[in-house]
Symmetry: C2
Subunit: 329 residues, 2 copies
């Protein structure tokens, strides 16, 4: 990534409190319409279609809707719809697509097929006038403004916000609503977290990013960001799958980033961290209850775990952003 | 992995034609019972629960059931059932668990929850007398015999075979049945493929394994195998997602293994391969229509693409198996 591009990326990272605040001012009507339609239809499951960063937003949606709304979520395999020309029967399902550009033919094909099968199909899109925007029954606009940087930042957190708003609209609860309204502040606090300094400890060309539950999505997103900005090979895993095999690949030359949110997964994450440190591994941490130390960044959120993926993603972007300089200086 | 363990792994890899043949002799009754129950219930989607290698078998099942049977498949997020204690409502769904040991508490919890919600729950298991084996309505036994090596080999291909048999039982077709019956031969041919020699080209500690459609599962399985046997960091991606970002991380020091089966995804795989070679990347290939060359292994299968993941997995195991020697000599 050229230095010029990098400064646009940083500008977009910094704009997120404002983007989230703007979205909260004007975006509830579409979300409530999607929620009303889903409540009426009572689908057995929601089929999500997405690619790239939006696919990580879909991972977040899976945990959010399954845990908070008890609504099963399946992630679409777009090639069944496009390459193989043999899409699944969608009876009893509703479709939700997530895309920044709305131009990905794979993602639009899933929504178009839903329409062909007379199934409801919704889309969270930044570019409303796109193929996907035109194909969906209801469009929830990300409202993130034009994104110029190739590594996505503000459209990722905006899509997470749209998903959180939809989860609220499906099962309203005043505490959750208040927490959603505080997300711009939480994103601003994450910008102050100096997560960038963690990157100084990364040597070599490899990284593992580990989360669980809600933060599997954060691990995926940070791993992709670091890959795009810094040409590292970064692997994202849930702590459970990591312990099941890839832990064999760990050595002192493979730094491991732990996404350690307060919540039920925290004990597992801490156990893994201690085990890795005993093996001499460079363990980096982003969390909301950590004591700040050389390799730990604390993001003060005051949020329920279900919403922490938004400020954690901001901290993860700061972690990814300066890596090119670490490598070239 | 110690040399002693490695020879057990190799013995189990070599036993696969016999394991598959034995499974075909005696395993149809249970598969037909599961298929009959699914046909009766007509679930909106099948929820799959699995961990580790079995999770890759679940990826295979997603493509197989969605494309061949047009039955939507969701992969369970076990932590919703265990850690968060807030499992999704399973109305309209059926559950299928895949596990070698049947002892994974995460996987068993999904099946037990299905029973609590009065939903049908089936399991493909190697150890019948396990927690999972006892919890399921119908057990399809892998029949792979005891597996002593930690990197799974024969239980992976046996679970793929059980899934293919189930797909046939859901939508019988004599050609597909005949192809299933030829799988032991195809596995034997893969054992003759000298895929191990590809490993000689791998230097360093990183690898990317790329597939698409049916062979996303193969890429995941080869990446995990290589990680377990050789302490590499190996990343598995679909070609579509790889082009969407991680291709930025590619350089001459990151070898890329392409799983190149004849089928609709092949054109994309070939385009990616050419682009990588132009960039000076070390590209390795396993395929069924390749001209054998220094970095290409041909697996003669004579199979429809939907069944090639079984012999390709065998070739992938051979590729992973000798890597420790490559590194230590």
């Amino acid at each position: 990534m050229s230095p010029g591009l990098n400064s646009i990326f940083l500008e977009e990272i910094r704009s997120q409190p404002e983007v989230l605040a703007r979205r909260l001012e004007s975006g509830w009507a579409e979300v409530e319409e999607v929620a009303a339609r889903i409540r009426r239809q009572r689908p057995a499951a929601l089929l999500l279609a997405a690619r790239g960063s939006s696919d990580h937003a879909a991972t977040y949606a899976k945990y959010l809707f399954e845990i908070r709304n008890r609504l099963p979520v399946a992630l679409a395999a777009p090639s069944a719809f496009t390459l193989y020309g043999s899409p699944p029967r969608l009876e009893g399902l509703a479709v939700l697509a997530i895309s920044q550009s709305g131009a990905s033919p794979d993602v639009a094909a899933v929504v178009e097929e839903a329409r062909r099968q007379s199934r409801p199909a919704f889309a969270i899109v930044n570019e409303r006038a796109s193929r996907l925007g035109r194909a969906a029954d209801v469009v929830v606009p990300m409202g993130a403004g034009r994104e110029r940087s190739v590594p996505a930042s503000k459209t990722y957190t905006a899509s997470l916000l749209c998903l959180a708003m939809l989860s609220w609209a499906l099962d309203p609860d005043p505490d959750f609503r208040a927490a959603i309204e505080s997300l711009p502040c939480a994103a601003a606090a994450a910008l102050e977290s100096d997560a960038g300094r963690l990157a100084e400890a990364v040597e070599g060309r490899r990284l593992a990013a580990i989360g669980r539950g809600y933060h599997l999505a954060t691990a995926q997103e940070v791993a992709l960001k670091v890959t795009e900005t810094s040409y590292l090979l970064a692997e994202a895993r849930s702590v459970a799958d990591f312990m099941h095999g890839p832990i064999a690949a760990v050595d002192p030359e493979l730094p491991v980033l732990l996404l350690e949110a307060a919540g039920p997964a925290r004990a597992d994450m801490r156990r893994l961290g201690r085990r890795l440190e005993e093996q001499g591994v460079c363990v980096l941490r982003i969390g909301d209850r950590l004591r700040p130390e050389a390799r730990s960044v604390r993001v003060r959120t005051g949020l329920p775990e279900a919403l922490t993926p938004i400020p954690f993603a901001v901290a993860g972007q700061l972690f990814g952003e300066p890596l090119p300089y670490v490598k070239t200086t």
